[in-house]
Amino acid sequence: MSVAITGIGCVSGLGCGADEHLQAFRSGRSGLGKVTLFQTKLQVPVAEVKMSNEQLKDQLGLDPDRLFSRTALLGMTAGKQAFQDAGLSKGRLRIGLISSSSVGGMDLSEQFFTEYSVNPGKGRLRMVAHHDIGDHTECIADYLQLDGFRTSISTACSSSANAIMFGARMIEQGLLDAVIAGGADALCRFTLNGFNSLMILDKAPCRPFDESRTGLNLGEGAGYLVLQSEKSLTPGTKVYCRLTGYANANDAYHQTASSPEGEGAFLAMLHALGKAGIESATVDYINVHGTGTNNNDLSESTAIKRLFGEYVPPFSSTKPFTGHTLGAAGGLEAVFSVLALHERVIFPNLNFKTPIMQTGLSPVTRMREDQDITTVLSNSFGFGGNNASLIFQK
């Protein structure tokens, strides 16, 4: 039993919607730039969504005086696109919403906390009422007038992939007919300082899989897929592709670092292939996790080599375009994987020059058009050893 992908939605530093993303990929235009959303002394590139909260609210037709976290606004923006793209409407189908995030309403909590830390009687409560991860999911559900099943997942940088996986399983079990699944994350001081404290932020644009890589760049955004059961499809429903494989495995090695042999990544990819019932040679393109940190790219390369042997398919990291969007990354990159199949393209891995000495793998560095691709693997790995892989097929 497979799950059809009938809708996509995305917003990131590259723009809003699939077309703006494709344009950016084709022209090699990265979304990286300076931090403008908040005060910080950290001088590092980030990929901000080039719209203020006011602009996002305006575009969504929301009351400008109503308070939303930026994560919720990004989630509603991409969630709405996916919902409309699939032509979903209320009533006929049992529609679920499974969203994910790593920071939720942290942008507002930070503002609250500044006042609160001086005086616990201070701080506007409505600022902190959006702190929890469930808040952004509820905002999306309210906005799309969904009254059915909803839940939220947070497994650091693999969050969205796990949301998509859970959505697929609920459809396969016959619990839902359609699911909007993915995730959203806004940039905030908390995560920027967090990754800075780990000393894995690159002061230059990130260089995934390059020998000289020194870290990642953060980004923000949201990405959602509409998953549907085969039964729920009507004649004329546009089907982009199918989600045929998925798996989640834990590296059980270290809270933040990946194991040298990439065991968790290897198991996630291996089991995803098993679920899809395909050989590794079937994979035409891997949208890798590829953050640009020393540790991830070496570990992921090792896992890829272990699984694919000598015949490593074309692969690339889209993070030099979007930055690492954390909880949203799995959702955005799932959208990119669907677009790769639909548009028959392979996205370039910007800023790559020299392969990593130990593994010698070279990603695709120029946009490839008219590719004969039928199977795409998407990887998302996170803190806590949480690794997830998804397989999309035409």
Binding site: H131, I133, T151, A156, M170, F190, N250, Y253, F383, G384
Partner: protein
Amino acid sequence: MDSYSVYIQSVASIYPEGEPVEGRFSINEPDYKEWIKEAGSRRRMSRIVKMGVTAGLQCLQNMAVKPEAIITATGLGCLADTEKFLQSIGSLNEELLSPTPFIQSTFNTIGAQIALLSDNKAYNSTYVHRAFSFESALLDGMMQLQTGNADSVLVGAVEELTPTVFYILERMGAWRKFPAGEGTSFFLLGNEKTHQTVARIVAVDMQRGNFSKDQLTQKRSDLLRRNGVSDARIVSEEMFKPICGEYQTASSFGLWYACTQLNGNGFVLITNSWLNNYTAVVIEKFTKE
């Protein structure tokens, strides 16, 4: 497609064992040394991580299985570390911050640490949706077993009460019905009934909306009827929250309460509410052989 039944093989809970002090319950802290042997790990872990990991490991103790999924739930996650890191950003003016509280602030820290300490590379996920968090984790675990994807699954929930969340939620009026609480409860689920089996999970239900008391009663009797249960004892929040206090995943303690504190066997309906989230879990409790 539901080919396998879901059984609760083992339970563990760390919960308040005394009266609330100034409206706040706090858990009865176990001796963490027994469970988290390495002193360095123990020192780095915040209270919520220690209590969650300990309850998870307690639940696995003496069970001859290695779970094929570890699924955790938390409404608000690792608040103490989140606050500590937020505070350090301000006080140290973004310079030379310790990464430890940031690393351990992620919602999946407890599930990840259980995997790490028990060398478990299996499926691992964390649900974070208010009062649906625990029931979502339970649903995921049940689906893993029902489809035959796993033969045994560890599911648990954890919440910590920090001074900050107490004050903030007090200002929001969250503690009007019950004192503020905290705690962690874990369940080892399996698909075969053994002499250790505590109960069978019959159904899990999550409903969101502004329902009247009558509507809720109707929903609950519908749930029982759909699952072919004619009569069930009820464990309501009025029974378990005076013990564990109010928190987003308190229903996990409700399930633990139903499994361990009720005499006899038969069907039990555990109900919970928080804001507009209503949940119900139906179990068939067994008498231990």
